[in-house]
Symmetry: D2
């Protein structure tokens, strides 16, 4: 049996707009039963009280049932365009390709609030990544180009619930809990991919020691789930089709040249911005970004961490989205904020999926 992965980018007119999916079903472009995952960019603030993720998840669940992994990332700052990235896996009769996009997935059980941002979360995610790799037929970490995880956050209610059981949570600041959850989940990915030695991850390193990171982790936190949803992308065995994936690591918020190189490795060579014909072949760009904790980009001060009106994640998403859109020439990009332990401090991993000619 050979599997083939398909990736569809569907615009959304609102968080609960699934009309584009319905049309694709009706026109036979997407097979509803073959959908294994949907990543979505929704137009909320991407922070604690972003209910656009929940609204989108509800609309998608009503349409697709419980099977697909749903990873909604809030925040379409700047020119980012709300959309869904739909991953299909179909069985095909063609021969496997040496390099073809593979998709695997897995879920953890609900995480007790007091484990969030701590070693127990790291371990839960690390184990789950291996299950997802197996699901994708990915034998070694080298074959993995992206591990997307949707992780939970703390709300006042969850903190109180833990407190009622005599448990202390890692933080009482709900916005901060999103960062801690992304941090622990990303370190879990780094452990699973052999990028970071588990023994080096002390409780205090989570969310503070930025020298520890994964170059292929992408984590989004959301109020709409209590466990983790994990999707692994790579070049696995037993997969067919023209889709290829590669990844790059931006070392800061405007470091687009490694992404240019990754595109070139997949056949999209461009001196300036991708040309329209090239853009058509770029099926997905998935990036993480964050405000550098140093307060500077290439030595020049940024103000993202001192702005009490707009959260740093919102600033970073819009800004890096601009840099990446300037490179690829369109705005339907999955740029997600909060890149704790995902790439180096102030930077982040970027995965690109391209259709081979």
């Amino acid at each position: 049996m050979t599997r083939q992965a398909f990736v569809h980018r569907i615009a959304a007119a609102s968080p609960d707009d699934v009309s584009g999916l319905k049309t694709a079903f009706e026109e036979g472009r997407i097979d509803r039963s073959a959908i294994v995952a949907v990543f979505g960019k929704t137009e909320g603030n991407g922070c604690v009280n972003d209910f656009t993720r929940a609204l989108a998840s509800r609309a998608l669940k009503d349409l697709l049932g419980p099977k697909p992994c749903l990873v909604m990332s809030g925040g379409t700052e700047g020119g980012l365009s709300p959309h869904f990235l739909v991953f299909e896996v179909r069985e095909v009769s063609t021969a496997p390709a040496p390099r073809a996009l593979a998709v695997g997935r897995a879920r953890t059980s609900p995480l007790p609030p007091e484990h969030l941002g701590r070693g127990a979360q790291v371990d839960a995610v690390a184990e789950c990544v291996k299950v997802a790799m197996e699901d994708a037929g990915l034998k070694s970490p080298e074959q993995v180009h992206l591990v997307q995880v949707k992780c939970p956050l703390l709300t006042s209610d969850r903190i109180a619930e833990a407190a009622a059981r005599g448990k202390t949570t890692a933080t009482r600041d709900t916005l901060k809990s999103m960062g801690l959850s992304r941090a622990a989940a990303s370190l879990g990915i780094a452990v699973a991919l052999g990028e970071v030695n588990r023994a080096k991850i002390s409780e205090t390193a989570i969310g503070t020691d930025w020298s520890l990171f994964s170059s292929r982790a992408s984590a989004s936190a959301g109020v709409e789930l209590a466990g983790h949803e994990i999707v692994v992308l790579g070049h696995g065995e037993g997969w067919a089709g023209p889709l290829r994936i590669d990844h790059a690591v931006m070392t800061d918020a405007i470091d687009i040249e490694p992404v240019r190189d990754a595109l070139a490795r997949l056949g999209l060579e461009a001196n300036g911005q991708l040309r329209p014909a090239q853009r058509m072949r770029l099926k997905a760009l998935i990036a993480k970004t964050e405000a550098a904790s140093t307060g500077a980009i290439r030595g020049l001060r940024h103000t993202m961490l001192n702005d009490s009106d707009i959260s740093p994640t919102r600033h970073a998403r819009g800004f890096t989205a601009g840099a990446l859109a300037g490179l690829v020439g369109h705005t339907e990009l999955y740029v997600s904020g909060g890149a704790e332990h995902q790439g180096p401090d102030g930077g982040g991993p970027v995965a690109v999926i391209v259709e081979a000619t």
Copy 2:
């Protein structure tokens, strides 16, 4: 007599941080008495209640006296770095160059609030641009590459003051008044540069008919002044020195290729991001940006105009700043929001000043 223009980019640790200027005075890098204009990016919201512009202006006035034109533009969203662009004009004994940066300036008298956003403002600015061109030795509009204008806005107090005199202002919405003021001022520039026929500018066209625009106007509104401050940059006669200027027009928020071309025309050719040595020679980049009124960028929906938490100008600044920083490789850019009649709808003019080798 030959004049030479100098441009200095000075980082600011806060809106009122003029220590970088003081150091430059002490070290002899800048001649305080030769300063004719200072453009500043300050870290406020760039909207009505942005008092960082007033604070910076106050600090600069205390240091420099009343002579220099001060154009403070609020908003360093994303990775933009707060800084001052200091323009010096010195008399030199060298021979004039065929193409050398020229700087001229002028001021209008205070604008009655009821004229804001109306034909009277267009005319006041158009006339003032010509005075500034003369000051710079710019004989024809073709020699002009940028007209920077700082224009006033309406506050509740100013609206009430006009009402007390029986006058109606163009709007009662203070945030909207910023856009109208930039709109009328920019059309004044377009008239002065021969880009738009004054007869075509009806009262209702101001702020609505985006087919009318200047490709070299840059307008910032601020609460700290009641008239206009105008600075003209170009290649004038009787100027010496290695600085060159050119401009481009972005047709949308990610249209960086025209800027790449303008840089190349000034000797900074780069396939990807400017290399470090090239960055050193880029003395200033001055850009305008805005959220496209169509609600879309290259056909893909953006959400800037529907976000009631962050104003569209903040979104647009951070996003286009990302695209431009991705091109030039640093974040000390003067990117200003609100590009009404400054470039086409959703785009904006960009001026670059480069040191010739």
Copy 3:
């Protein structure tokens, strides 16, 4: 046949939390089939991109079906507590009371975007109010104490849709469209209640002439509907039960004494804050508020209209909520922002429902 109205206040842990309702069904406190309307305060920004209203509506519709009128009002600024106000109407065998709470409702058909904020919207609402009064058995406008209307708003899409048909909308500013929609709907209520002569409402008066207003209108705009949902509350004939309603008009954002008087008329006399036993009898408080367009409260400047970080409706909701919570002693109040033509400029109507002893 006698009818009896019941009002339940149910706390919500999130916009889509209907667990409190479910529990009430299970415990027999609420008869699901008797629910005619649900008013909700949800924790969004209450502005254009507030999807908490849509999320709550979706969760309520899934639970209750299409029958009940749903009026979700976004924004729980300050200490406001998210909750649902559930209105039940049951047939009872007791004798009608001379004064008992009556509830009626009606819906308009979808409003074409180009009619929003214009005379056509006024007329559509005025007619619909009469249908709702008839539904409630309210014979004369004097018997009406509150008309709650949920009205649509403009989005970029709706504006474009109208433009595609060659129609111009009243505004292109989506946030402003919320105000215009509330304005026209409220004037429709004022017409229906005989408070304003329809002939006096010119197109330009809508959203500008604040001397025209209803003392009993409450309007909320939301993206989740295209027509209007109207609920009328009063003392109608043929109704039984201990619930009584009265209303007051606040003339400014801190004018709580008329509300104190209305409470006293319903038996809740209090010199200071309501005492705990009195609070138990206050079943609902429904208020509208807004930032005075004069920029001042009792002659002292406010800054709500000049704040480009927080919309004036958010400011006004939190502030007036504080004044009202200080009076009644709890925070589960339905305080809704944007009181155009609802009470005088800067003030708003307040309805209180009290259980008689």
Copy 4:
């Protein structure tokens, strides 16, 4: 020698508007040389990047010189009206009164960033309060009704400066540093007034153990100073004049009855809102407020701590301001956010200054 304190409330049209003060000088209402302190409410966000405090301080310093203590508190959410509270102390020949407003003040030296939020800050403030009490002729803590302290905060720069010296700051989150600074300063006041035993204040208690608090502390953090400015108000010996002061403690954000009682003790008895004639005699109301860390007010959930668009301090200021303005009938109140260890969790101290008849 007898001293007399005068309190003036001067409206400000912008943070740097000192025209009201100038007019008062010209009209002889205020003696410039007698001013010892100015408290100001300015229209910023009251958080880290609020430069309205710096702008106001700069304008006041230019006008008044270095002598007066300046305590600028940012944030006029809701209907709060920007204003300055000016404290004068003049020598008079009248006999001292048994109860008359006394004003004393003192300053600490700059606080190293690494001491912020720690025991060293507690001690520095406690010692300084005693100096200020002595300055006011206040012999015992019982005579003190308010200790206002302006304390520093951490910025990215200050954190980096400490790090460069090998020192770790209590937090790297600049917004959080404001809370920690207010917390430590307030505990310093509590120690000085004998309300909390210094031995009970461990490093970890600062900013977490809300059972420790002062009922008379008011702390505001600001970027514009590196040390502390302390002003003590009470009834001291050797003071004359008709001004009296008292204080109350609100136990939650809507607990206005203790304030009503304090007003009554000073001769302003009111069942409902203060009447206009009474309002004239209320010279100043100074209050602290905060969002309850429990996430609830009187058992009902609030959303202030989960809102990532508006900081909790902004919510709390606007809301409690509404409750207090509803009580006293005007909006020129000094309501300051962030009441860590200032009153119980979710509540805060309130001081009122009234002119005796």
